[in-house]
């Protein structure tokens, strides 16, 4: 199976590792070869968490610059920062609800303009699916479901060698039972957002 390379970037606390875990478990259930690596050294202290997930026949667990087939960003500035992982054929999915870094919150940096970010990403990649995933997560009943909203959008693109059902099953079995219902709703809303 030809490899599909996915990068997920997020801010510590946004649930990147859980989203990766759901995809990894879905791949295991579907008998799709999968390898993932994660860097989360100081995530709890406000840093960036990056996961690389390689589906299919490859042995590497990391993804070089310019070699991601899909980039999913849980935060717009982090999506832009990770653009070096992309190429002209890459599909990018990004939450557009900003979580300004602390440096910006206290006036020591400027947060990039959202429309400019969209234009830049669109110009350098094949496709950008951008929407307010925080809003959809809240609609689903839990702001913490931003990660699952984005999984829904990712699933809709059909780029991953994983079916909708198998990801849904992984959400059911791998996320906390109290949140399964809101997570499934979040998945649906993300799926629809990518369709529209």
């Amino acid at each position: 199976m030809k490899p599909t390379r996915l990068i997920i970037v997020a801010v510590g606390g946004q649930g990147n590792l859980l989203a990766s875990k759901v995809l990894g478990e879905a791949a295991l259930a579907a008998d799709v070869p999968v390898r993932m690596s994660e860097i989360h050294g100081m995530a709890q202290r406000g840093g960036v968490v990056e996961s690389a997930i390689v589906f299919g026949d490859a042995r590497s667990t990391i993804i070089s610059d310019g070699e991601a087939d899909v980039l999913v960003g849980f935060e717009p500035a982090e999506t832009l920062r990770a653009l070096k992982k992309c190429n002209q054929q890459t599909t990018v999915i990004s939450n557009m609800a900003p979580l300004p870094p602390f440096t910006v919150s206290i006036g020591r940096g400027t947060y990039p303009d959202l429309d400019q970010m969209k234009r830049l990403i669109e110009a350098k990649t094949s496709r950008l699916i951008a929407f307010d995933a925080a809003h959809l997560a809240r609609s689903a009943g839990n702001i913490m479901s931003v990660n699952i909203v984005l999984l829904g959008a990712l699933c809709q693109t059909g780029i991953l060698p994983l079916s909708e059902d198998i990801i849904r099953q992984a959400i059911q079995t791998r996320t906390k039972s109290a949140f399964v219902e809101t997570n499934l709703k979040a998945f649906e809303l993300g799926y629809q957002a990518a369709t529209g």
């Binding site: 801010v11 990766s20 875990k21 990894g24 478990e25 295991l28 070869p33 999968v34 390898r35 993932m36 690596s37 994660e38 860097i39 989360h40 050294g41 100081m42 709890q44 202290r45 406000g46 840093g47 960036v48 490859a58 042995r59 590497s60 667990t61 990391i62 993804i63 070089s64 610059d65 310019g66 070699e67 500035a77 982090e78 832009l80 920062r81 653009l83 070096k84 992309c86 190429n87 002209q88 300004p100 870094p101 602390f102 440096t103 910006v104 919150s105 206290i106 006036g107 020591r108 940096g109 400027t110 947060y111 990039p112 400019q116 830049l120 350098k124 990649t125």
Partner: protein, 618 residues
């Protein structure tokens, strides 16, 4: 039941590398495990800590890596299969024990895991611990994947028992923190009660004994070399007259590169998984079959130098390259595209670089540096020290932990950090060598780990230093592991002692000891000022539970604060404290009530007393 206790051989689980290593140990029947936490090794021990709570496995968080290795060495020499894990720099701390343990050997299997960190994702250096194998004479195994890491652990135990020596298992971050599908083996039976057979002429390393033991160690290295020649973890694949010798994760990048470049019929690969002693005969035969050879290894040219020596011994003159200006670097970690490019360059085959986008028109993206958490008591202590020493020229030796981040603005307190415990030792040197004031910082776990000897030294040599012990009641940085000062009853665990820092410091003979609650700012500043003015050694113990740990224990009681109308926009709160709960809204300072934990530090700093508790909504 813990996931790693799943007793279903052939079942496939998605496991983190560190979980796979812990599982491998359980399949090997490990009975005794010890550690000092350190990224990227910490999840190995955390999983064993959990398993120990539901089985007869013995697990301990030891005070430091040297102690961890000593307890494991005793257990292994009493007949228990033992494992000791640490991050790479931890092996420096344990090295004194390791070097002579190599002479003494073990009676049951002992595996020492060294988790190296190329690129220093969360470390102060990127030393290559394969050299410890060479230095000590011990075997070292290096997995290339998560699955192999699991399988290598039982092999390491068997190898350790066959040689009567500890075996090093060296991983890198990309093994420890990768996930892959692992096929479970059977859980091994555990022998948990040992007996120590006295044998002083083999265990007591006086010179006459050690002279004989060193001979035995050299014999063992020869035996180990034969095992390395026969080991299935050193293998060849592919065909052709171009050769690649590689290890660890580099092997996976090499195999992907060969496939991507379509070189399956031109390149033969020798993967080294048992890298000390190296299989000299097999490498010699491999070289003899090649026209040119590229050695692909992260870190130091450990294999490259040996491979060149093997070629020289066999009068082989083929080109052998590895590190070099146009080839591989000793710096940082490798990645698949880099290895593909270097392979193509060395073997002179066409190659197109990945089409990375032109990012020259992307605006500067504000950095997202790690920062002390909202309500972190270290911030309060740093601020109190800054206020107490205003106007003085102060050096702040600091140490390894969350509080290392205090070196960043706006706190900017941290001037010298080299290794665990060095804040207490280096402080005395600065005090003697300069006329500057010295106020150093160390966390509770690091103090227990290796800060105490430096403090004793300061008392004995009468250095004029102030040590601030940031006692947040846990080992916060690595994920809240216990340390000797932790009240284990709070974790519902019985059978532990507890070491209190204040009586310990007093017993050392520190003449001036103060205890502060850092959120009580005025009192803290006064106590620190008094300590700094004291001529000689003074210690200030700043005690406040880590905010995240308190939250996890459901002990956090604080209520969020807000900025009231009284605010005159001095912004001392933002500029001096830099707490991540602050943000600006139309040039007005606001506090995010979802982030604020109600420590009230900013309320004490505000010159207008404008920061007040957020009133409950009516």
């Amino acid at each position: 039941m813990h996931k790693l206790m799943t007793d279903e051989p052939e079942k496939k689980l998605l496991l983190l590398g560190n979980e796979a290593i812990a599982r491998g140990a359980l399949e090997a029947g490990v009975a005794f495990a010890s550690t000092y936490p350190g990224t990227p090794s910490s999840e190995i021990s955390f999983n064993l800590f959990q398993v120990a709570q539901e089985t007869d496995l013995y697990f301990e968080y030891s005070t430091n890596e040297k102690v961890a290795l000593e307890v494991a060495a005793a257990a292994a020499n009493s007949g228990l299969r033992s494992m000791c894990m640490m991050k790479h720099v931890g092996l420096n701390v344990a090295a004194d024990a390791l070097m002579t343990l190599a002479y003494v050997g073990t009676r049951a299997g002992l595996v020492v895991v060294s988790a190296d960190d190329p690129f220093m994702f969360s470390s102060q250096n990127e030393q290559d611990n394969r050299y410890y194998a060479k230095l000590s004479g011990l075997p070292v195994l290096e997995p290339s994947s998560v699955e192999e890491a699991k399988d290598m652990v039982p092999y390491a135990f068997d190898l350790s028992e066959a040689l009567g020596e500890p075996v090093l298992l060296r991983t890198t971050t990309r093994i420890n923190h990768s996930n892959a599908v692992v096929t479970l083996g059977a859980l091994g039976p555990r022998q948990t009660k040992g007996h120590f057979e006295k044998d002083p002429f083999n265990f007591v390393t006086v010179p006459a004994v050690s002279r004989r033991l060193h001979v035995r160690l050299l014999d063992n290295i020869e035996r180990a070399q034969k095992m390395s020649e026969e080991s299935a973890y050193n293998f060849e694949e592919g065909q052709g007259s171009w050769g690649v010798i590689c290890n660890g994760v580099s092997y996976t990048y090499v195999m992907d590169a060969i496939q991507d470049l379509g070189l399956e019929d031109q390149v033969r690969v020798m993967r080294i998984g048992f890298s000390h002693p190296l299989p000299a005969e097999r490498i010699g035969a491999f070289l003899a079959a090649c026209e040119k050879v590229l050695v692909v290894e992260e870190g130091e040219p450990y294999m490259e130098e040996a491979v060149k020596a093997f070629a020289q011994e066999r009068a082989l003159t083929l080109p052998i390259k590895g590190k070099g200006p146009d080839l591989f670097s000793r710096l940082y970690e490798f990645d698949p595209a880099m290895v593909r490019q270097k392979l193509a360059h060395f073997f002179d085959v066409p190659f197109t670089l990945p089409k990375a986008p032109d990012l020259s028109d992307v605006p500067e993206i504000p950095q997202r540096p790690p920062t002390l958490c909202a309500g972190c008591s270290h911030r309060a202590t740093f601020y109190a020290v800054k206020k107490a020493t205003e106007g003085l020229d102060v050096i702040h030796p600091s140490d390894i932990g969350c509080y290392t981040l205090g070196f960043l603005p706006p706190i900017s307190m941290g001037d010298f950090v080299i290794c665990m415990g060095a804040s207490t030792g280096s402080a005395g040197g600065f005090a003697r060598a300069t006329s500057q004031k010295v106020v150093s910082f160390i966390g509770d776990s690091t103090f227990f780990h290796s800060g105490i000897p430096g403090l004793i030294n300061a008392v004995f040599n009468n250095h004029d230093v102030t040590l601030v012990i940031l006692d947040n009641r846990t080992t916060a940085m690595t994920g809240h592991q216990p340390n000797p000062g932790v009240d284990m009853k709070e974790l519902n665990l019985d059978g532990y002692g507890k070491v209190d820092i204040e009586p310990l410091v007093k017993a050392i003979g520190v003449p001036h000891v103060a205890r502060i609650r850092p959120y009580q700012l005025k009192k803290s500043i006064a106590a620190i000022r008094e300590a700094v003015e004291f001529k000689g050694v003074s210690v200030v113990i700043a005690e406040e539970k880590c905010a995240l740990y308190a939250k996890a224990l459901r002990q956090a009681k604080g209520k969020p604060f807000q900025v009231s109308e009284r605010c005159r926009n001095h912004r001392d709160c933002i500029h001096d404290l830099g707490c991540p709960a602050f943000y600006l809204e139309e040039e007005h300072v606001r506090i995010d009530p979802d982030i604020c934990i109600g420590c009230a530090l900013c309320a004490q700093v505000c010159p207008e007393n404008a920061i007040v508790p957020l009133k409950p909504k009516s």
